[in-house]
Symmetry: C2
Subunit: 275 residues, 2 copies
């Protein structure tokens, strides 16, 4: 693990690292914020399509709230980089910058695009070993990363104390982004697709012991077609999964939306991290 940059910010440090990932077989970058005080809890942030380890840490304005509460965060990249797989760099919504937080099963991709194992095993362990000695970790993300947070939270409820999402893709098997990504990473077996879809996971009986918190802007260009928030809302309503969905008039899909409500989400996670 190599430190690339370190910047003092508030009462702590914003830092950038690169490490050799066992899961992806490539060098992977991530950013962290580390308070100067004893770390009381950790968060993993999962970014959306086209993003990398920089977007959240430079644009969300989270450092103040993390610093005030003694929380650490890690923001991984959204896919392996530096490869040249078939179609990997053709579109913004598949391949590089678009790993979708699943372990690919298709030829070529299955060796490297293991983003589920990368986040839920490798990054979680690295974060807890190196930075977050509290051992408690919350998970949240945006758009494709919201899909990642909800599905990994449902697959591994014991690993993440609480889960939240901004503008998540909640039912990928029924939207264009999800169908394209799942076909490319998982192949044609649609039974397999359902194992990686938050709405289908809820319908199959999976749950997380803590309520999910979801923030959704109502002027979001991708709402509802790509996000299908109401499908997830309905599935939770018919199950034991508690969910709080805040629908926010006027807000869009951008980091201006995220920065407005990031304090609320950090406060939400802090309560569970410190309970």
């Amino acid at each position: 693990m190599k430190q690339l940059k370190s910047h003092k910010s508030f009462n702590g440090k914003t830092e950038f690292y690169e490490h050799d990932s066992k899961q992806t077989g490539t060098p992977m970058k991530f950013s962290v914020y580390l308070p100067d005080t004893t770390v009381k809890g950790g968060l993993i942030w999962l970014s959306g399509l086209t993003c990398n380890e920089e977007n959240f840490i430079t644009k969300a304005g989270a450092q103040k709230y993390l610093s005030d509460r003694g929380l650490a965060i890690i923001c991984p990249d959204t896919s392996p980089r530096g490869l040249d797989l078939p179609q990997e760099h053709d579109d913004y919504d598949f391949g590089s910058g678009a790993g979708f937080y699943i372990d690919a099963q298709t030829e070529g991709y299955s060796k490297h695009y293991k983003m589920e194992s990368y986040i839920a095993d490798e990054i979680l362990n690295l974060f807890n070993n190196e930075f977050n000695k509290s051992g408690k970790t919350a998970l949240f993300g945006h758009s494709m990363g919201g899909h990642g947070a909800l599905t990994l939270g449902l697959k591994y409820p014991e690993r993440f104390t609480s889960v939240s999402a901004f503008s998540p893709i909640t039912n990928p098997v029924n939207c264009q982004w999800g169908q394209k990504a799942f076909a490319g990473y998982l192949g044609d077996d649609k039974d397999e697709w359902q194992k990686h879809d938050a709405t289908c996971l809820i319908e199959s009986g999976k749950s997380h012991p803590r309520p999910f918190l979801i923030e959704q802007g109502l002027d979001d260009n991708f709402y509802p077609d790509q996000l299908l928030t109401e499908n997830f809302e309905k599935a939770c309503g018919s199950s034991q999964q508690e969910v709080i969905i805040n629908k926010r008039p006027g807000f869009d899909h951008s980091y201006y939306f995220i920065s407005t409500f990031v304090e609320d989400h950090i406060r939400f996670h802090d309560e569970f991290l410190n309970s």
Copy 2:
């Protein structure tokens, strides 16, 4: 004036515009934040070398504090764009992205690089006519933009209620960045250079009725050689100009530094804007 983007953020809007500048003779972009409530005061932010109208508004995390206080902000670009003057695009510290907030007198540049008049006349008037009906405007900036804030504050004290700066270039006639820029924009007459140097302006008897607030990181790569903070501190000490200089151990020249202390600077300006 054409609106390019509008994003709801906190209780207001972050927006991007383009207008045809009379001073530069080119289309110029700027960003604004506008609270939903009556505007109680305005700020102009001047960015540093290589920056444009986006850096502050996406990275500083200022919107929350502006929203809470009912303040508007405008963030202009740092130079004309779309031209092809001699050496304009060769280096990061001269020409495009490096207008230095002075009116150029050299051939070619004198027609377009009129960044002093652009900020202190055109942008100030546009801001107060279109967005900041309070009519009161504070001025602050970073690095080259800190030089801009201090010098324009000293040249036009009646136009800006208060002035502050992060990591400002305070004595450009004595540092490499300033010497290169002033030679390129003003020519070889060093008496002329002194009229655009904050330290020289203080030494010549100029002042602003309000104290200046300066934030300076002590792990800043450009401190002290390019910034020469102590020259300005000494000049103010020998004059009637009040200045508060906060030297911050561990902080560097980045937006991580700015975001840490932007709330303090907004509070500082708010007191004068609303007094």
